[in-house]
């Protein structure tokens, strides 16, 4: 509301002041330079709307004529600078080499002078006056435009079609102009309004020093300069030009923000908050963890879990009634296309959902602690995220997809490991470093002493993922959630990481949730597989069941799209893929969510969402026709 109001105000104010400045000679204004000794420092009256200045001149009329001077200087300087800057940027970016040096380097020298100083230098040499002012302001702001244009040219000149055109012998200069100019139009417009505002500020500042607009011409800076000695007698005379100046600059800045948002929509995506989420993100039910006697062997039991994410177009259910179970020492693979909700399931368990826009809406997450008879299961779902750190790291650890992005670039590997160790163990720094070394050895990092002192960017991708795994294991968790841990790595490194995870699971008897879209990986690591589609579990079963007797058409589709050696040999068969795309979570089909893409679907499929039906003791499928498949 406030944003709209200020924007409307800004536009209205600029139109008003600009319009009056342009039409000044036609308006019934007093002569701005005509002195009236009788009404020196006069109060506002019907004749003199804003009063009179120290020479008895009409303040209102001087404000309007001041606007005229200010806008004339600033607009012409901004236009001149734009022409010069865009030309230099195009030349420098397009030709590169020595032309780049003679066009772009001198601009750096301009930038190494504070603008005000360069202006003063020029005034010393050329004397004050509007002409000098315009030229010097134009020169000052050339670099701003040149840099924007230059950057855009550089990014466009290597685009494929420009290179293709060049290879074909086309006049790529013209192509460049045609592609670059429309692209820079937005940024240049933003720059233009910024420059106009800066010019107005500089012009008024110089005039205020008596080195800009020359009296008796009017300028806001000059008016402030003139009214200053009389502020104790008539403060209004000082306030009017100050207000005019501040409102003008504010309005231009506001307009500039608006233009920037318009040309760069990314910058302005507002936060959308679910109702009631600001108050501590907790569920309305209960803040206390419920506990019960644990079922033997069970480590994690998720029941009917629903997680909501708010989007600009309304809340969506990222996961919708998911039920799954992980036993001690068991590896469960969570499989599905992107958007199936598999990562969200992992993040929900860790309570690491996107800040302020994600929350667990309903369901239970029973987690078992302790051994044998004493084992207790706790429902983690109602535990608020703020209290959840007691579980993270110690009970459950998580490894993410991008090992580079997951490690903080400004700390050494050692620091980040020690940090994780000291959270969970009350040990000295020396002891923690010793433990960190042991952790690095455990995940198979060669020369661990050296690696401890290195930064993430000095390690290879596979190394970083090993470090990330070591960090996740620091608190000896019972459950490890690995979210696509091998996707960003090349194939040989992938195999090593899988081997490492498998090894850790065996030796430490921890439960593993392995999230992936790659079924090939699943066969190597998982005991059981849970297939997800559109936030729901559509099928689950042992690895053998899923691979050899899949009951859900979606599982079959996923399996068919994995390249098999015999397909490669036969040569003629094309790689199968599931037709269609994943539906938008905002427009889910009624009934079975896979029906629109399914070759087995019938009318009955679209009537109601099918239940997860038991197929065998360990297998279940969410399909009304699973028996026929």
């Amino acid at each position: 509301m406030l944003r709209h109001f200020t924007l409307i105000f800004a536009v209205a104010f600029l139109l008003l002041i600009g319009g009056m400045a342009v039409l000044a000679p036609l308006l019934p204004l007093h002569d701005p330079v005509q002195m009236d000794v009788m009404s020196r420092l006069g109060k506002p009256s019907l004749t003199y709307l804003l009063g009179n200045d120290e020479y008895g001149r009409d303040i209102f009329s001087r404000i309007i004529y001041g606007a005229q001077a200010s806008l004339a200087v600033s607009l012409s300087a901004a236009v001149l600078a734009a022409i010069g800057g865009v030309a230099l940027g195009l030349l420098g970016g397009y030709f590169q080499g020595w032309i780049e040096n003679i066009t772009m380097r001198p601009l750096d020298v301009i930038l190494s002078f504070p603008p005000m100083l360069l202006a003063l230098l020029a005034v010393t040499l050329l004397g004050p006056g509007t002409g000098t002012l315009t030229v010097i302001l134009a020169i000052l702001f050339i670099p701003a435009y040149a840099r924007v244009t230059y950057g855009e040219v550089l990014s466009v000149r290597n685009l494929e079609y420009v290179e293709a055109a060049r290879a074909l012998g086309h006049r790529s200069g013209r192509i460049l102009l045609r592609t670059v100019l429309p692209n820079v139009a937005g940024p240049i417009l933003v720059q233009f309004s910024l420059v106009v505002a800066s010019c107005i500020v500089l012009e008024s500042g110089l005039s205020f020093l008596g080195l800009g607009v020359v009296p008796p011409d009017s300028s806001w800076g000059l008016m402030i300069r003139g009214a200053r000695p009389y502020m104790h007698m008539e403060p209004l005379g000082l306030l009017w030009p100050c207000l005019a100046l501040v409102f003008t600059v504010f309005s231009i800045n506001r307009l500039c923000d608006f233009l920037r948002d318009m040309f760069d929509p990314k910058a302005s995506v507002a936060a959308f908050t679910l109702p009631g989420m600001l108050a501590g993100q907790r569920l309305s039910r209960t803040a206390h963890a419920m506990s019960r006697k644990a079922e033997p062997d069970s480590l994690l039991q998720i029941r009917d879990l629903t997680t909501e994410i708010s989007t600009p177009r309304g809340p969506i259910r990222a996961i919708d009634g998911v039920t799954l179970q992980v036993r001690r020492g068991e590896a469960v693979a969570l499989v599905g296309e992107s958007g199936s909700g598999k990562s969200m399931t992992g993040l929900s368990v860790m309570k690491l959902l996107p800040r302020r826009i994600g929350r667990i809406a309903s369901g239970e997450i029973w987690y078992s602690r302790g051994e044998g008879e004493n084992a207790r299961a706790i429902d983690l779902a109602p535990v608020p995220a703020s209290h959840f750190r007691a579980y993270r790291g110690r009970d459950m650890g998580m490894v993410f997809q991008e090992p580079m992005a997951c490690l903080n670039p400004v700390y050494t590997i050692g620091y980040q490991l020690v940090e994780a160790i000291t959270v969970h163990n009350n040990v000295s720094k020396a002891k923690a470093e010793e433990m960190a070394l042991a952790e690095l050895k455990r995940v198979g990092i060669p020369d661990p002493e050296r690696r401890l002192r290195e930064y993430p960017h000095q390690l290879s991708g596979g190394m970083r993922q090993r470090v990330a795994i070591a960090i996740a294991l620091c608190g000896q968790p019972n459950l490890l959630i690995a979210d696509e841990p091998t996707t960003a790595l090349d194939v040989t490194v992938q195999a090593q990481i899988l081997e490492l995870l498998e090894d850790i699971r065996r030796t430490s008897n921890i439960g593993l949730i392995f999230i992936t879209h790659n079924l090939g990986v699943v066969a190597e690591i998982a005991d059981r597989v849970v297939v997800m589609y559109c936030g729901q579990v559509v099928e689950e079963g042992s690895v053998e069941e899923i691979f050899y007797s899949p009951r859900h058409p979606y599982t079959r589709g996923l399996l068919a799209s994995v390249p098999k050696p015999e397909d490669l040999n036969s040569g003629e068969k094309r790689l199968a893929s599931i037709p269609g795309t994943v539906p938008s979570p905002l427009a889910l089909p009624p009934g079975c969510r896979f029906a629109p893409r399914c070759s087995y679907s019938t009318e009955a499929c679209s009537v109601a969402v099918p239940e997860l039906e038991v197929v065998t003791e360990s297998q279940a499928a969410r399909c009304i026709r699973w028996k026929e498949i």
Binding site: T124, S204, G205, L211, R389
Partner: protein, 316 residues
């Protein structure tokens, strides 16, 4: 090390370019330099005075000789003598420079002390009351030119409330309390324009870094929210904030001209404005050169600090 050396070399190169430009400017301007400098009052200068100035400045010698002498003098710390009273310019600058620096550093300190916590709060409570309030105040602060802030502060605190003197200066050794009182309003005027810059940068980078995956890793480790914020969000946001602050300190070096003028603060700028009015080119040249050296040095410090804050810069 390599990084430090590279930065230092580029700083020296910039300074060389700037001093050369300052030398050339007088000769690039069309017309006879001596005549230009003497025609300030609008009257044509007499032939004798032009000749006298020409030999005083060495303008009668070949350009390259003038240049060599000029650079040699600069390297020895000799910036020539003022037109107005013949006093050595370097001496006057040495006397006034610390006062300008004091003003700027106080303003920068104020800006950081106010801008960082408010930026952090606004980012953490994005879309909330404080975010709205701080953001509106900052966009207003960005729109007020420094000399307007200064003048209005004088109007309010000196004229209407009569709390503090309208301007002036007492040296710290003479009367520390009074010195600080005089420092308050000019430093605050500069801070009004600088704080919004710091605030916006802090807010943007905190929001950006909050979404980083290493923050999620830190939470997944079991770190407390405070440690996550301080070590993995605020610490990382220091680099961009330092960069922006450094860039704006340079602009401020120019902006102080106005503030010192408004508050009669006897720093470099008062000297500069007077020199410009009198068309005292050697003095203007000297002051601008010194300020540019400062500007380059500040940027060098920022670059080095940046390297210190971000290991990726150091090692590449």
């Amino acid at each position: 090390m390599n990084y430090v050396l590279r930065r230092a070399v580029s700083a020296v190169a910039t300074l060389f370019a700037v001093s050369t430009l300052l030398f050339l400017l007088l000769h690039i301007v069309p017309g006879d330099p001596a005549e230009i400098l003497l025609s300030g009052g609008g009257m044509a200068p007499s032939q004798e005075s032009v000749e006298a100035l020409r030999s005083q400045l060495g303008l009668d010698r070949p350009l390259w000789q003038q240049y060599v002498t000029y650079m040699g003098n600069i390297l020895q710390g000799d910036l020539g003598n003022s037109f107005q009273d013949g006093a050595p310019i370097a001496q006057e600058i040495v006397k006034r420079l610390p006062r300008t620096l004091e003003l700027i550093l106080t303003a920068a300190l104020l800006a950081v002390v106010i801008g960082m916590p408010s930026g952090l709060l606004a980012a953490l409570r994005r879309g909330g009351f404080w975010d709205g309030l701080f953001s509106s105040v900052s966009s207003f602060g960005l729109s007020i030119p420094v000399f307007v802030t200064g003048t209005l502060l004088i109007l309010l605190f000196s004229q209407i409330l009569r709390l503090v003197p309208a301007g002036g200066f007492v040296s710290f050794t003479e009367d520390p309390v009074q010195h600080l009182i005089y420092l308050l309003m000019p430093a605050f005027s500069i801070a009004v324009s600088l704080t919004p810059v710091v605030f916006r940068m802090v807010r943007t980078s905190i929001l950006e870094f909050l979404e980083k995956e290493w923050v999620r890793t830190a939470r997944a480790k079991g770190l407390g929210e405070r440690s996550v914020l301080v070590r993995h969000v605020v610490r990382n946001s220091l680099s961009p904030v330092v960069t922006v602050l450094g860039l704006h300190l340079g602009t401020l070096l120019g902006g102080t001209v106005l503030v010192e003028y408004v508050f009669n603060w006897p720093g470099l700028s008062g000297m500069l404005v007077q020199a410009v009015e009198q068309r005292d080119y050697p003095a203007v040249q000297g002051i601008v050169l010194v300020i540019c050296i400062l500007f380059v040095l500040i940027n060098l410090c920022v670059d080095l600090l940046y390297g210190l804050l971000d290991p990726r810069v150091r090692y590449n």
